[in-house]
């Protein structure tokens, strides 16, 4: 009895028997917090401080600038095209990989991961090589008066390439963990492929889909490298928000640059909150799943 009490005392707070002394815990937590503050919170605060350095009016004026508005519009447009494309592709790919076995499956998985392992600048260059004036399809495109590089289609293409792993990567392990039983049960009960997807598969993965979409969207709006290569930096026409930030910064309009950057920072914060909610919901779904096994 006495011994048990003595043991208890060590990990009193969390009720666990195995724990470090209080001083060590304190030090570890402080180190982690200090690191976060230095590398994450401080820069974030700096962005907003700089953005509002010249007051509210200057902030709003910077955002109202026609070139900036055009950049915001282009960024939204790019995301609005890329996210649905990659949502569709991601679900299809994840479904194929998780629910069927076929030749070349591991090759497909590797290919899906490719954009993660290739530098974004290279991703952009690929498109310049294919569609650019000196590229494979360049002369033909020029002859037919189709502009891809240094125009919106190029930006969309590069962004699609860079962001396509997000949804698929999120869904593959989730769908694999859920197995095929429910789909098979639905088919045997007479459901069609589409009915099976919308009534059985999708409800089980919806939070994972949302999670993937959030990450995909954040990256689509924030992508710099690949877009920078294909955009051509035409003001008011082919600049996205990240490119606009760079231009403003290089022109020493710090307040304006940070004002625009604060939009991206805000996006990051919103993403973080949504991501946490989605993650929590996925966990909930999985624990229900566990209960069923």
């Amino acid at each position: 009895m006495h011994v048990a009490k003595g043991f208890r005392k060590k990990g009193e707070k969390d009720g666990s028997q195995v724990s470090e002394p209080a001083a060590v815990r304190f030090l570890l937590i402080c180190a982690a917090l200090a690191f976060l503050a230095l590398f994450l919170l401080l820069p974030l605060a700096a962005v907003f401080a700089e953005a509002f350095a010249k007051g509210w009016e200057a902030y709003l004026a910077a955002l109202h600038e026609p070139d900036t508005l055009s950049a915001i519009w282009l960024t939204l447009l790019t995301a609005a095209i890329c996210v649905p494309i990659n949502l569709f592709f991601g679900i299809v790919a994840a479904w194929a990989i998780a629910k069927f076995s076929f030749r070349g499956k591991s090759l497909l998985i590797t290919l899906i991961d490719l954009p993660f392992s290739v530098s974004p600048v290279v991703s952009g260059l690929i498109y310049v090589l294919i569609f650019g004036l000196q590229g494979w399809l360049g002369p033909w495109l020029q002859a037919h008066d189709i502009k891809i590089i240094f125009a919106v289609p190029g930006i969309v293409l590069a962004t699609v390439f860079v962001t396509f792993p997000f949804v698929a990567r999120e869904l593959i392990p989730l769908m694999e963990s859920q197995g095929r039983d429910e789909e098979e049960a639905a088919l045997i009960l007479g459901a069609s492929g589409l009915q099976t997807f919308f009534r059985v598969t999708f409800p089980n993965i919806k939070w994972g889909v949302l999670y993937g979409v959030i990450l995909c969207n954040a990256r689509a709006m924030g992508e710099f490298g690949a877009v920078s290569v294909v955009s051509g930096h035409v003001r008011g026409s082919t600049n996205t928000i990240p490119l606009q930030v760079e231009i403003l910064y290089n022109e020493y309009s710090y307040a304006a640059a940070f004002a625009v950057a604060s939009l991206l920072a805000l996006l990051a914060l919103v993403t973080l909150v949504l991501k946490t909610v989605a993650e929590w919901k996925i966990q909930q779904g999985l624990s229900i799943n566990e209960g069923e096994r």
Partner: protein
């Protein structure tokens, strides 16, 4: 509806899951596919359901070619080992699923679906839990919901894949009997897969014993238990003791015993294996003739109504004997005591039968 399986083979890569299987399931029967894991029983069930396609061979439902027919058009009910309930749907929605996905033309009206689901809920005795989610149910309840869901579409064939495998012993026993009674009521042709011989013997009308992708034997529970066709079946059904020996002109010599074996009258000094169930051995204090052999009691263990006695024969082989409690009490055996063991029923397989 009857099911005929003709020459069905299925390979997964190099692994032959089924080779040339022929089987007829008569209409209204409750058939158990019994075998160890890897024997192909689940693959056969999935081929009947249409979840897998056979590499060769045919499946006939009521004499009608069904091999290539789509899963959805086979009208089978399938109960999965892990239930496979739709986890985001309530019990009611799960059972109603098969009815609500029908094409609009042939779909029942909402009120009719409701009536039907509640009839089924009554059948599985879960009316109170219609609005629960699968995660809120116990294993036995989930399995009953899975069964009701399969029955809702009025299948012509009911297929069950290790239906009680994931349940604890007591629930399993209850559900077994319940399934037996249910089948007596609705008489739908049913096939269930199990690796539990007791379950197969208790529930099924017919047992099909499978091993390594082939059917070893089929017949009524009594037939396969009392007259196992192969050493494998003998070994798989119940506790069994093996004796190595030889047969010569109708007499077998094994483990120091002489046993007459009329069916091997024509053999000439062939090596053979004798199979004796553990409850088919008597223990005596005196040797009456050459069919008994001296043994030493090594271990005694009471298991409920039985007493299990481990003997070591004079030749060194170990033998397990199950005695009814009253017989054991009368004998009053002591560990280390010398006794005689006499097999009541020996089944002798000569080596050409070897597994």
């Amino acid at each position: 509806m009857s099911i005929e399986i003709e020459g069905v083979s299925k390979n997964f890569g190099q692994f032959a899951a089924l080779s040339e299987v022929d089987l007829i399931v008569p209409s209204g029967e409750l058939v158990a596919l019994l075998g160890p894991s890897g024997s192909g029983k689940t693959t056969l069930l999935r081929i009947i359901a249409g979840l897998e396609l056979p590499d060769t061979g045919r499946i006939l439902f009521n004499g009608e070619e069904t091999t290539k027919r789509d899963v959805r058009e086979r009208h089978v009910g399938f109960v999965f080992q892990h239930y496979a309930l739709f986890r985001h749907m309530t019990v009611f929605e799960n059972i109603a699923f098969g009815l609500t996905v029908q094409p609009r033309k042939s779909r029942l009206k909402k009120a009719d679906i409701r009536d039907k689901v509640f009839t089924l809920l009554k059948l599985i005795q879960l009316e109170q839990l219609w609005d629960r989610y699968p995660a809120q149910l116990s294993g036995g309840q989930r399995q009953r919901v899975a069964l009701a869901r399969a029955l809702a579409v009025e299948p012509q064939v009911l297929l069950l894949d290790e239906p009680f495998g994931a349940l604890d012993a007591k629930v399993r026993l209850e559900l077994r009997r319940w399934l037996r009674r249910l089948h007596d009521e609705i008489h739908v042709t049913s096939v269930f897969v199990t690796h539990d011989q007791e379950e197969a013997l208790e529930v099924a009308n017919r047992i099909v014993v499978m091993s390594q992708g082939k059917i070893e034997q089929q017949g009524t529970p009594t037939e396969v238990y009392d007259r196992p066709a192969t050493p494998f079946v003998f070994d798989f059904l119940g506790n069994v003791n093996l004796f190595q020996g030889r047969v010569h002109e109708g007499m077998a010599q094994m483990g120091g015993m002489e046993i007459s074996s009329p069916e091997h009258a024509a053999t000439n000094n062939v090596s053979a294996v004798g199979y004796v169930r553990s409850h088919d051995i008597e223990i005596e204090r005196l040797s009456l003739d050459a069919s008994s052999v001296q043994a030493e009691v090594r271990y005694i263990l009471s298991v409920g109504p039985l007493v299990r006695v481990d003997l070591e024969l004079s030749g060194g082989e170990g033998v397990e004997v199950d005695l009814p409690r009253d017989v054991a009490d009368k004998l009053d055996l002591q560990v280390g005591e010398k006794v005689f063991a006499r097999p009541r029923k020996v089944r002798i397989f000569t080596d050409d039968y070897q597994i």
